[in-house]
Structures are given as structure tokens and as C-alpha cells.
């Protein structure tokens, strides 16, 4: 894999897996309607991590329901379905409420695409520093390596997430900005603190 940090580009002639082919199929439809960035586990897998997954997480920019409706129609006509609801209005309202909606090939819930609007400012930033991965059969936009490492290591924190972060760190060693990871770590710590406070106050209200 060749990573050009300046161009924010990774070129690989990796043999495509069935998962990669499915992701390319889904993204080819998605990108006609909305800007996107792939985040989380699949990024590590695309970059070599040796594990399977049941979902591919994707941020999409906030779009109007009319645009979403066209996207949904094309997904349905291409053999995908939504696991959460059938009516466009219902699916869109989940997204608007900050929830993720899942699409998969019809009748096959796994693997699926977990699609959501970015809520927090740090999530919206994902669209500013994404990397393009050039594969033999197409291109994919993924979140920056530093963002990937920081969120896995300091926000999600499960064994699997720590391993994903470690894989990227070791595979791209010398090309990772630890200063940027530190900046994101500080933001994440603030987010976690806010979430903890929010939980505490909700709990206290229930007690009253």
C-alpha cells in the first residue's frame, strides 16, 4: 500500500474481497446522491486487518428528504433494503433524530451498511480530512488514519477497537501524526465527560 500523506491518498492493488466488492457496489449508488466518508472497523479491514465484520459504518452529509428519497429508491432498485423501516419518511426521521439506519442486500441482514448523519462537530470534521483509497475497481473515501486511531483507542475502547487502532498504527508507522491523535484525544475526553454528566443528570431527574 502506498500512502501519500500530502495528497491524502492510498493506492493499493489488493485482491478485492467479497466485502470490498459489496462496499463498492453500495458506495457507487450512495455517492451519486450524497457526500460520504467510511469510518470505523471496515477502514481497518480495507487496510489489511485480518478480521470479518457485520457492518460498515458510513457518515453521510445531511441531505433533504427529497434527495434521500431518490437515494432510497435507487438502493431498493439495486437489491438493497433497509433493516429499520420501509417508508422513506420513517427512515429519514431516524436519521434526523441522530440515529443510524442500516441497509443490506435484500434478505441478507449481514453484512450491512450503518448510515448516519454526523452529529458532533468532531464528526463533521471527518469530511475535511478524509483519505481516498484507490482500488483496482474503484475509489473509497475513508476517515483520516489519526481520527480512526483516536476514536478506536480513546472513545470506543473495546478489545476489537484497540486492535484495529494498533493495526493502522503499526502498518502506517512513521506516517501517523501523533500530534493530531493527541488533539483528537483531548476532544474525545471532553465528549466523554459531557456524556457522563448528561447521564448523571438524567439519572438524577429520574430519582426525583
Amino acid at each position: 500500500m502506498e500512502y501519500n500523506k500530502e495528497k491524502k491518498e492510498i493506492i493499493t492493488d489488493r485482491e478485492l474481497s467479497n466485502l470490498d466488492k459489496l462496499v463498492l457496489k453500495f458506495i457507487k449508488i450512495l455517492e451519486k446522491h450524497v457526500d460520504y466518508v467510511i469510518i470505523s472497523g471496515y477502514v481497518s479491514i480495507l487496510l489489511g486487518r485480518s478480521r470479518a465484520t457485520e457492518d460498515v459504518d458510513v457518515f453521510i452529509n445531511k441531505i433533504h428528504i427529497n434527495v434521500f428519497s431518490k437515494l432510497y429508491d435507487e438502493l431498493i432498485n439495486s437489491g438493497f433494503w433497509c433493516l429499520n423501516a420501509e417508508k422513506v419518511k420513517d427512515i429519514y426521521s431516524f436519521l434526523e433524530d441522530g440515529l443510524a439506519v442500516r441497509f443490506s442486500e435484500e434478505g441478507k441482514p449481514v453484512p450491512n451498511f450503518e448510515v448516519k448523519f454526523p452529529k458532533r462537530d468532531v464528526d463533521k470534521e471527518t469530511f475535511n480530512d478524509f483519505i481516498i483509497v484507490k482500488l483496482n475497481e474503484g475509489k473509497l473515501k475513508i476517515s483520516s488514519l489519526e481520527r480512526q486511531i483516536a476514536f478506536k483507542r480513546y472513545y470506543l475502547c473495546s478489545d476489537k477497537d484497540i486492535e484495529d487502532a494498533l493495526h493502522i498504527e503499526k502498518t502506517f508507522k512513521n506516517q501517523i501524526s501523533f500530534k493530531e491523535i493527541e488533539r483528537l484525544k483531548n476532544i474525545i475526553e471532553r465528549i466523554k465527560k459531557d456524556e457522563k454528566n448528561k447521564k448523571f443528570f438524567t439519572f438524577s431527574k429520574q430519582e426525583i
Binding site: 500500500m1 493499493t12 492493488d13 489488493r14 485482491e15 478485492l16 474481497s17 467479497n18 466485502l19 466488492k21 459489496l22 479491514i45 487496510l47 489489511g48 486487518r49 485480518s50 478480521r51 470479518a52 449481514v110 453484512p111 478489545d159 484497540i162 486492535e163 494498533l166 493495526h167 498504527e169 503499526k170 502498518t171 508507522k173
Partner: protein
Amino acid sequence: MKIDKIKKEKRIFLKPGKTNKEDRLNFVKFWAEYVRTHSDKEWSKQQNIVINSQIKR
């Protein structure tokens, strides 16, 4: 590329972990080193055995 040279010069060994968690982390490091020092075609062929066993097309 230097890949063949690296392969000849230095074989990486997997350090056994004292716990399951440590062992897993050691393997992740070992595999990342393999990915770094081998061609994309070579590592992806092996990785795809894991991935394609889950998704048949």
C-alpha cells in the same frame, strides 16, 4: 520494491503473549508487519480467506 530484500534480511517472529489479550495484540502487531513488508496481493489473498468465509457471493 524493497519487500523481497526485507523478507530475506529479517524474518519477524511472533512473541507469545502471557494472556489471551496480550497474545492477540502481539498477533495484530505481527500481522501488521506482514502487511507492511509483503505485497498487497500476497497479504490480501490470505485476509480474504477470513472475509470471504463470511460473505459468499
